[in-house]
Structures are given as C-alpha cells and as structure tokens.
C-alpha cells in the first residue's frame, strides 16, 4: 500500500500538469504551440489566441478537474452512506433532479439563463427529498426517485421539445463551451466541499461499521448521516451544474482510490479527489479528440459528450469491481 501511495504522490502532479498542458495546446481551433506559450507567459499580441487559450481552453480544463474531484468525493461519501462500493452520486437521483429543474425552467421561462441555478437547486432539492423519504434504503429509494424524476423530465419534453438539445448536456454530461464564469461558479464549492468531506473522514470510518457499532463507538449517527448526505449532494450538485450528470467518475475514482490507498477515508478522500479530477479531464481530452465518421451519417461528428466517454470507461471498471466483490 505504501509504495503505491508514494508512486501516486509522485506521479499525479506530473499527470496533472501534462493533462492541463495537453488541454491548453490541443483543441479544435488551430493555435500554434509557440502562440500558446506566449499566451501563458503573457506576451501574446494576437487577442484571438489569448481568447481561445484563456477563455475557452483554460476554463474547460479547470471545470473538468474541479467537477471530477467533486464527483469523486461525492461518490466516496455516497458509498459510505449506503455502505456499498457500487453506489455513486447518481444513486441519489440528484442528476435526474438537476435535469428536471433545467428542463422545467426552460419550458416555463424560455430565453432566460437560469440553467445553472436550476441545476443546482434541482439537485439540492432532490437530495433533501431523498433524506426525508429514503431512510429505509437510500440506494433503492434513490434509484426509484431518479426514475420518477426522469419520467417527469420526459413528460415536460413531450409537451415542449424545444429544450431537448440543451438538456442532453445535463443528461450525459459535457464540458463543451465552458466559460470563465463556469469556473468562477465552481471553485467556491471545491473550497467548501473538499475540506468538509475530509474533516468527516474519521467519522465515516466509524459510520461504515454499521449503525449499532457506530453508536457503540460514540458516533451520533443521525446528525452525521445528515451532514454527510448534505456534503455529498452539495458536491454532486455543484459538479452537475457545471458539467452535467457525468456518470461513473463518482464510481470509478473511489474504486481505484481504494485499490491504491485502502479503505481509510482520511486517505481515500484526497486520493479519490485527485483521481476523479484526472479521470474526468482525461476523458474530456478523449471526448473532444474523437472524431467519428459513421456509415449512413453524412455529417462528420466530432466532440462526443464527455459523459459518453466516461460511460464507456465505466463499464469495464464496473465489471472488475464485480469480480473483486464476488471473490470476497
């Protein structure tokens, strides 16, 4: 475990820097590499280049890193709450809640830029509903709640199909066209959620032992559960509002984190955060590099939503999780 952790500590900064640079140097519009360097050192005279690098590419990679970290930490917390490593932020139905709120506002007040607050509010409200109705089994309730919310979303879309292309972003998750404003809205959540989650770590270590044992060890399980769920939902809500309901990052990052760092939440939370950030950002790099030319479709399709990429990465990881579970 120790050597793995040290390798992680040494390698992740390298990987992170490499990823950020890749994002800054690559992209759909052509910016010559020397120009990117000049932009980064503040010596670029061509405003279009500066705009592309600083206002398009930089926010995109930052939002990807931040949302990935939040999803991963939220995943760790949700897995702890339901005491099952197969849970992820989507288990709580918050993604479906965000999508419903976004569609609802687009149908009711078309033309207003309410998507961000709507996604955030919808996700948080769903978390609150889950806390109230889901005490018996958060996993089953969350999944059913998600199904109902998705059906309501579809109901709205059948009535008014105008928002359909917008809502696809929230349904699968996409980092296309992120702006500096998105990053401005995201980073305060990082600053609040990540440290709070880490401060909860030793309580989570006790909570996962089960309600009787946790009470026996002096943990006040009611308040702890409420706070953990709140932090988990807040993290997922912020990430979803910024990047859409990207699947599997919240499942894969904690899983790999456990392999590398073990089950202690004091280590698992930071490790998963880093892994989630790298994972989402890497998947985004793949997503916008992919250019698909399919038979039967005339247009060249480039820029797959990042959620589709994470879904493809997620399936084999889920399978490996499964194998480990069954061996145990």
């Amino acid at each position: 475990m120790r050597w793995r952790l040290s390798a992680l500590v040494l390698l992740t900064p390298v990987a992170g820097v490499a990823l950020v640079l890749a994002h800054l140097f690559l992209g759909r519009s052509d910016v010559p590499a020397p120009a990117v360097l000049r932009v980064l050192t503040g010596r670029e005279t061509e405003p279009a280049y500066a705009l592309i690098v600083l206002d398009y590419r930089l926010p995109r990679v930052l939002v990807g890193l931040g949302a990935g970290a939040l999803l991963a930490v939220s995943g760790v917390l949700v897995q702890a709450v339901v005491r099952n490593p197969l849970a992820e932020p989507a288990t709580t139905g918050v993604g479906a809640g965000a999508a419903l709120a976004v569609v609802g506002t687009l149908v009711l007040w078309p033309g207003h830029a309410l998507a961000y607050p709507a996604a955030l509010g919808g996700a948080l409200a769903t978390g609150a509903v889950l806390y109230v109705v889901g005490r018996r089994s958060f996993a089953v309730t969350g999944v059913l709640l998600g199904a109902v919310l998705a059906a309501l979303t579809s109901l709205l879309l059948v009535v008014d199909s105008a928002p359909i292309s917008v809502v696809l972003r929230w349904l699968v998750g996409s980092l296309n066209a992120r702006t500096p404003q998105d990053w401005t809205l995201l980073w305060p959540w990082l600053v609040v959620v990540l440290p709070t989650a880490w401060l909860l770590a030793s309580r989570l270590n006790v909570w996962v032992l089960g309600e009787p044992a946790a009470t026996g060890l002096g943990l006040r399980t009611g308040p702890v559960l409420a706070v953990v769920l709140l932090v988990a939902v807040a993290g997922a809500a912020a990430a979803i509002a910024a990047a859409g309901a990207v699947a599997f990052v919240g499942l894969v990052a904690p899983h790999v984190g456990r392999l590398l760092a073990g089950a202690d939440h004091r280590v698992l939370i930071p490790v998963s955060a880093v892994l989630g950030a790298l994972l989402l950002s890497l998947a985004d790099l793949v997503a916008f590099s992919v250019s698909v030319q399919l038979p039967g479709i005339a247009t060249d399709v480039s820029g797959v939503p990042v959620g589709a990429v994470t879904a493809l990465i997620g399936a084999p990881v889920l399978a490996s999780l499964v194998r480990r579970e069954n061996r145990a």
Binding site: G216, G218, A263
Partner: protein, 262 residues
C-alpha cells in the same frame, strides 16, 4: 465481588423494542462492577434488545438506563463510548478494510478533533490484537478472513476501546470450540486482571454456567430468574424459561451446574 458497591450499569423500569412493538417491558436490572453477567433466554425473549438498549444503540421507550449512576442519554455519546464498549450481533464488513483499520476504529471515542492517533492508541490497538490472537493477521483484509477470524477482529475493536464495561451480543457466534473457550477465558481474564464488567448474551447455557458470575434468564421481555448460575440453572427454571425437560448435574471439571437435555 461485593454486593455493597454501587451498580456500574443499571436499568430502572426499562421498556424497549423496535418501532411500536414492546420487546422488553418494565425491567429493572443492576450490574455490579467487576462481574460477568450472562443474559439467557429463548429466541425473541428480548435479550439482545435489552443489551442494545443498555448500550443506548436502541432507543428506550420508558424507564431509564444509568451508567455510573447517571442517565446514559444525558452523557455525550463519545463519553459513553469511553466507558462502555458494544459488540453488536450484525456487523457490516467495510469494503477493503484491514483488521488493523477495523481495530483502529475502537480508538474513535478517544480521538481529538483532528483525529490523530497518539502513542497510547497504538498500545491499545496492539494489546487488543494480542489478546484476540490476531497480531499475525493484522494487515489482512477483513473480506479475506473466515467468519471466526472476522468475529475476533470485531471483538478486538471493542477491546481497543479500553472501556470499563463491555456489552457483547452473542460473542461466540461463528467461533470454533477452541476460540469459544479462548474468548470465555479472555472475558474472565479481563474481569480478574483488568477489573472489567461484562454483560453478554449467550445461547449456550453451559457456557453461561461455567463462565458467568450471574445469570439473568429472560422470557417475553421479563426477568424470570436472576442469580448465580447454581440458583438460576435448575430443572424448574429451565422448564419455565425454555420449555425443556432437563437434568442439571455437577460439571466434573468446574463443579458448576451442567445442563443435559432429557
């Protein structure tokens, strides 16, 4: 064992149960320090419910539980956890955790706000692992252990809490004969050499007779018999508590009562 000492743990007029179902009704019980008490009774008699309510894991419906003469639910939960350890019956296996990581959780009540382990915590964990014979398995993952080893790991976690009172719910479940005997000896050792008070739910009446100072027999949430093993484990009580026809003879090894079904 002295009867004049104040009880370390007591229930007064205690009613408890799950949801609206009353399992234990108006029960009074006092546990003296440095004694081993066994709770026995048929399935559904309320033994575990009583134990978990004494441990404030289940909320009581009426009456009160006193720890060192103070109502247990007025004490902060970590304060209780420093004096009283609980081994529940159904324990979750946390994903990927090792034995040492589980045992470490026993130190949770003692940790400061920054949750850093101190030297004394290391010592407590080492002793707990040694007492349960788990030192060689300390770095194994829990999900790779046998049921018995896992049960011992949970016992080690409870011991690492270093409390004066231990409440054990069917601690011998999953253990083979040797480890059952080891555990019972460990309980006696903790009482004799460390002055611990132990209350445990046992299914095996002979185990209770052999290792407990006091046996409390429950049926339908009421105490039917309470006293030394010799006083409680008689043919008459066994019939009224368990509906079994049994012969009670003297154990040739310990001289305690030994129960043989007829």
């Amino acid at each position: 064992m002295s009867t004049t000492e104040p009880p370390v743990l007591a229930a007064r007029g205690l009613s408890a149960g799950h949801a609206r179902r009353v399992v234990v009704a108006d029960l009074t019980l006092e546990v003296r320090p440095r004694t081993v008490t066994a709770l026995v009774g048929p399935n559904g008699s309320g033994k575990s419910t009583l134990l978990m309510t004494l441990a404030r894991v289940l909320r009581r419906q009426a009456g009160e539980v006193l720890l060192d003469d103070r109502p247990i639910d007025r004490l902060p939960s970590t304060e209780v956890a420093r004096r009283l350890g609980v081994l529940p019956q159904t324990a979750v296996v946390p994903t990927g955790a090792t034995v040492r990581e589980l045992v470490e959780q026993g130190r949770y009540p003692q940790l400061g706000p920054w949750a850093m382990l101190r030297r004394h915590d290391d010592g407590a964990m080492r002793r707990a692992l040694e007492l349960t014979g788990l030192t060689p398995l300390a770095d194994r993952r829990l999900d790779s252990l046998s049921g018995g080893e896992r049960q011992r790991a949970w016992i080690a976690m409870t011991l690492a809490q270093e409390t004066g009172v231990l409440l054990l719910d069917e601690p011998t479940t999953y253990l083979d004969v040797r480890h059952q005997i080891d555990l019972m000896r460990l309980v006696e050792h903790l009482r004799d050499d460390h002055g611990l008070t132990v209350v445990m739910v046992l299914h095996d009446l002979n185990q209770a007779a052999r290792h407990a100072d006091r046996v409390v027999a429950l049926r339908d949430g009421r105490v039917l018999a309470d006293g030394t093993p010799r006083e409680v484990l008689t043919s008459g009580t066994l019939r009224s508590v368990f509906d079994v026809d049994a012969l009670v003879v003297d154990d040739p090894v310990t001289g305690r009562p030994l129960f043989v079904a007829r």
